[in-house]
């Protein structure tokens, strides 16, 4: 396979569940060796997209290629070479860490002679060597998530799908997982990560695609997205609600890009505002500004 061929390529992919259109004519190309972030609000179609890449959901229309394999026909071969970290914890609660990893080493066809080593390596990745023989039910949430990630890496995949890898985790565990994801990328593993955490996408992704309503509405490096959709600076105006409402009508009248941001009103692309702009705090624009400008949705 030529080096330039995308690790993942979707063309015109649509997925309908009855009346509901979860993915709507999606085009996506993930080059090899990058961390590609799929950023979008809940319900944007990220998880459905992820499931289609393992052929656990079948596209209603369009074509999907993963690692050069045509899906769904050749999906089993593709699954041999990729690892999946699901959003929902689906660890076997009745097994121990070591047993789970042993079972998945078999499912991923790790040769018998290498299985033991693969299990030990995964235990190290999960930092669970000391709990190797503990039943999963007795592990903490953070430990379970680390095991979930290590399980998906047991066979040294070339491509890893991470569906909301740090959702519901406390900041420390999140940091640990971020370092792990970063080290995978530096080893040359291709990563496709869905997330609705702006910071996660911004810190880890080489390329971010913003997904909304089942399609990609913008794509680029985090810096490009910010520059294009939120400008260089943002002016944040604080004040009582009626003051904000007044500024908002002014912004609408003048055609200033703006958004409500908690207790403040934020004017995007503030570097281009003229002297009439109200008083406020200037700060550099970030991906969150771009995201809200693009999707019209606040994030949690």
């Amino acid at each position: 396979m030529p080096a330039a061929a995308p690790a993942i390529q979707l063309e015109g992919v649509t997925k309908r569940f009855g009346e509901i259109v979860a993915v709507d004519g999606l085009d996506l190309a993930v080059p090899p060796g990058v961390c590609f972030g799929l950023l979008g609000p809940n319900g944007a179609g990220k998880s459905t997209t992820m499931r289609m890449l393992t052929a656990q959901a079948l596209a209603t229309e369009g074509s999907i290629q993963v690692l050069g394999y045509e899906l769904p026909g050749e999906s089993k071969a593709a699954r041999m070479e990729m690892g999946v970290v699901p959003q929902q914890d689906n660890l076997d609660v009745e097994l121990t860490c070591r047993q789970i990893l042993g079972v998945f080493a078999r499912l991923y066809r790790v040769p018998r002679a290498e299985r033991q080593e693969a299990v030990e390596r995964a235990l190290d990745i999960a930092n669970l060597r000391g709990r190797a023989d503990t039943i999963v039910r007795e592990l903490s949430g953070g430990m379970r998530r680390r095991l979930l990630v290590a399980r998906g890496l047991i066979h040294r995949p070339r491509l890893v799908l991470l569906d909301e890898p740090t959702v519901g985790l406390d900041p420390q565990v999140r940091q640990e997982l971020w370092s792990l994801i970063d080290s995978l990328r530096s080893e040359g593993v291709t990563l496709l990560m869905s997330t609705h955490y702006i910071e996660e996408a911004e810190r880890l992704s080489d390329t971010v695609a913003v997904m909304s309503g089942g399609r990609i509405i913008a794509q680029g490096t985090p810096a490009e997205l910010v520059g294009t959709h939120a400008g260089r600076e943002v002016l944040e105006i604080y004040g009582p609600p009626d003051r904000l409402t007044a500024v908002e009508s002014q912004a609408i009248a003048r055609g200033w890009r703006h958004r409500r941001s908690g207790p403040a009103l934020a004017l995007l692309g503030a570097e281009g505002l003229d002297g009439e702009a109200p008083q406020g705090v200037r700060r550099p624009a970030n991906l969150e500004d771009a995201f809200v400008a693009l999707t019209g949705q606040e994030i949690e």
Binding site: F17, L58, E74, R79, P86, D92, F104, A113
Partner: protein, 273 residues
């Protein structure tokens, strides 16, 4: 065979072809999980598989046996001991088929994890059924062993019971999987247990010969796979094999094949969106 990292990856087509349908490695991987779990639960499983036939033999064989001494030429205790083999097989296959499938799929989401690995629904379902039916075949011997203490005579033909139990268990486990794939909630299993499985196990020639039934019921009983299981088990155990047993075996094999394909088909539709 050790993989050398210096060796270039096999050509794409070769890699695709190497993954056959019903890949033994996939089946072994899924069954490994069951074996690991079984190592933890074997005591409870063995306990109940010994106690259940003992209760039947005491209640029916001894209790009832004081009223009925023989069915045909067979002593009633022998009749029940061999009949209860089918009951043991039924319970140890249909229930795991229903409950394990539903719990692992809907509650634990284990199946979701397995299907993200290079394992197809066909392999997953087949491996799960294989494991349950092997276990059901082996535990099908338990009532006979218990029967030895009630006067049943050991006979080499009894070893065939493992095989018959395996085929019957395969069909009933697959039936259970099919029910799990159709059921909306786990409570729906009650309908199947009371309306299908209970009459099946009673009207199978387990405790009384179906020849005593009215004509209509007798005809229905012919369609009960368990009836065919009971007939063969009794004949190989009591050394009374007749040509009709081949027909019984054929029915059991057909039942197993039919349920196997139906289970895969239905669960495929539920597991893959």
């Amino acid at each position: 065979m050790s993989a050398d990292t210096a060796v270039p990856a096999p050509r794409r087509r070769d890699r695709v072809r190497r993954l056959s349908r019903l890949d033994p490695a996939a089946l072994a991987g899924v069954m490994m999980r069951d074996v690991v779990l079984f190592r933890r639960y074997w005591k409870a499983t063995t306990f109940s598989s010994i106690v259940q036939p003992t209760i039947y033999l005491v209640a029916f064989g001894v209790g009832f046996g004081s009223l009925v001494s023989h069915v045909g030429h067979v002593r009633y205790v022998q009749y029940v001991a061999t009949g209860v083999v089918a009951t043991a097989v039924l319970f140890s296959s249909a229930f795991p088929g229903m409950f394990n499938t539903f719990i692992r799929w809907q509650y634990q989401r284990t199946y979701d994890a397995i299907l993200a690995a290079p394992v197809d629904v066909e392999e997953l379902v087949t491996a799960e059924i294989l494991w349950v039916s092997i276990r059901a075949g082996v535990y099908g011997l338990a009532p006979l062993v218990v029967g030895f203490f009630f006067g049943l005579r050991p006979h080499p033909g009894m070893l065939l019971v493992v095989l018959i139990g395996f085929v019957t268990g395969f069909g009933f486990c697959a039936f259970g999987v099919l029910i799990a794939a159709i059921a909306k909630t786990i409570d729906n299993f009650n309908y199947v247990t009371s309306a299908v499985l209970t009459p099946m196990f009673l009207v199978a020639g387990t405790f009384f010969p179906i020849s005593t039934l009215p004509h209509g019921l007798r005809t229905i009983a012919q369609f009960n796979p368990l009836y065919h299981c009971v007939a063969v088990v009794r004949d190989v155990s009591l050394n009374t094999i007749v040509t009709a047993d081949l027909l019984h075996v054929a029915v059991l094999v057909l039942w197993a094949l039919l349920m196997w394909r139906l289970a895969i088909w239905r669960l495929q539709g539920r597991l893959i969106d």
